[in-house]
Amino acid sequence: MDATLPILILAIPLGMFFVLGLAGVKMSHRLAGILGCLGMGTTLVLAYTTAFTYFFSGSPEFVDAAGNRLQALIFDQTWLAFTDKLVIRIGFLLDPISAMMLVVITTISFMVHLYSMGYMRDHHGVWERGFQRFYAFLSLFSFSMLGLVVATNIFQMYIFWELVGASSYLLIGFYFIKPSAVSASKKAFIVTRFADLGFLIGILILSFYTGTFNFTELTSAPVEGLAGVFSVSETTAESVRSIFRSSAAPVFLGGSVLTWALVLIFMGGMGKSALLPLHIWLPDAMEGPTPVSALIHAATMVVAGVYLVARLFPLYLMEVTALEIVTWVGAITALYAAIVACTQIDIKRVLAFSTISQIAFMVVSLGVARPEVHEGLGYMASMFHLFTHAMFKALLFLGAGALIHAIGSNDYTAMHGLRKYMPVTHWTFLIGCLAIAGIIPFSGFFSKDEILSSCLGNSTLVYIWMSAVAGLTAFYMFRLYYLIFWWKEHKVHEGHHAPHDQPWTMTLPLVILAAVSCVAGFIPFGNFVTWNGAPYDFMAHFDWSVAAVSLCVALAAIGLATVMYRKENPLPEKFRAAMPALWTWAHHRFYWDELYMFITHRIIFNGICRPIAWFDRHIIDGTMDAFATVTNKASQAIKPLQSGQVQLYVWWYLLGALALGGITMLCLL
């Protein structure tokens, strides 16, 4: 495949960032917005073309004779050569998951670009201050995210990983006058930076033992007895295998170094994907403008962790211990976030916790995926869920943005009963809720069902656990839905300032995403994305009993939510009174933030930084000053000897002469 298209996919958003960033202040708001949309639109078309070519052209570059999909390096330029073997390249790797991610990212990004044209101006048509900057940052983010998914080597991924973090920082802190936004952006950056430290150390360990950064070599064929992933030549595969056999041998603190490397790399993923215990930044990140939350903190950046594990999946298969860790981190996070989501008041925070929970679903799905169970269904299910979730969660966030824009508050208590005033928002939001709850035939049903089948194939405990979380998901989403659109009506909604649907720039993306959420479930995903490139018919592995059970659970949960929240009634209060401790803990998000505040402020800031600074000023610097002081004092002390009084000198001279004379006499005697 010609490299022009892929290069343009990366170059257009980057170029747009520079154009809007440098010349934005000189432009009108409308021009900047249109330029941004056009740029992203072009990228969208290019990315679709690329993905289409990859999946459907059938060129020998992309698919082998047996119909297996291949990894194709479209281009791979040396960027920085550390040693002969360890080289950072900037390239473009096309394989099923990167092609899929291209589609997801450009779609959501374009929707958000379009939507922001409406969202970033108030009811009187006055543009938000810094509108051009906003579009510049959006372009930067899109560039970084696209660079991340097409990375050909783990270091390129790390580079874009950091860039994504920085653009997320800039976008969360977009309203930089607000102290809460500033601290949220800071928190997001530092928490993910901490996670990236793990990622970096993982990369260092991995590259130390394997001597390569390249994905194609790292993931070629590490598991014996299985067909080579993406059919890399057998010699390469054998050499990698032997490296791992020798490298897996060294043991450090009870785990093989490869386990350590993989767990540390996963730590980077935990940070970006907001998994327990590094999830704390995501709810706060909702301080950013809502379109940003939809793009970064729901659909694209937060799935980077999932993508990372998927990218290195063949390596993880070598160390099942690491996969077990991945599974349980995901499972615990999913349950935790679902419980917390049931008690939040701010609608964006409910969505944030639901995102955390859904990402944990994908992670669990990867964790339970084994080639021997349903031919690695979990991997495909995870990617499928990533795809569908991106669509319906972006839909929900954009819907929430429309509500916030109309009402001017994030709090559902200010909403209630909006279904009559904002019909488009209402219906699209409902579709989003049905999709996430997993109701047939919406997209979430299919992807979630496959995740659950995959869990069942691996362990019954995980299956029951995740089914329960799926039920909770349906419950809290419909709680949210009813509280916003039903419940009792506010009187303030009537009259001149009645909330109404938003301009077409905002409703169009909602409608498009809702339509996608309705039909995405019918995409035969297994034909496109599987862990080893071999096409896969998932209907053959479709488990109707699992589907029926999960559907029943979801319907029951929706029913419960309907009973409790459709109309104003005392049931929710009774529930709360029945388990006060759980409610309080969940409402305060199990006090994770307080714990972190304690660790960072009390222990690190007051317990390490301050003592060190004090030590530096008083002990180290004090020692240096003490040298000076001692010298000074000593010279002051001996200064009187140099009195300038010749008589004194004569006196000393005389004494000295007598003493010398005496000594000479003694010696002579």
Partner: protein, 97 residues
């Protein structure tokens, strides 16, 4: 025998030089020491090398130098006295440090 008065003179000079605070007195002590040394020169010349006269000449030379030196010293002292109204060496430390 003549060395004994010279030695007494020299010791008086040293004692005076160390203990006196008045510049004139210090100068006088200095002269005492000088003269003691002059006497020694003359005496040693007379007894050790009676036919040579260098010691005598050197004494005369030293006396002349001492005169010049005294004149210079007294001039400094007078100038100091004019500016400081004092010729006690312990108080004249303004130029120190």
């Amino acid at each position: 025998m003549l060395l004994i008065p010279a030695m007494i003179m020299f010791c008086c000079g040293v004692y005076g030089f160390i203990t006196r605070r008045n510049m004139i007195a210090i100068l006088i002590s200095l002269e005492l020491m000088l003269n003691a040394v002059d006497i020694n020169f003359a005496v040693f010349n007379r007894y050790l090398w009676p036919d040579a006269m260098e010691g005598m000449f050197f004494t005369l030379f030293a006396i002349a130098i001492a005169a010049a030196e005294t004149a210079l010293a007294i001039a400094i002292i007078i100038n100091l006295y004019r500016s400081a109204r004092n010729i006690d060496v312990r108080d004249l430390n303004k130029l120190k440090y």
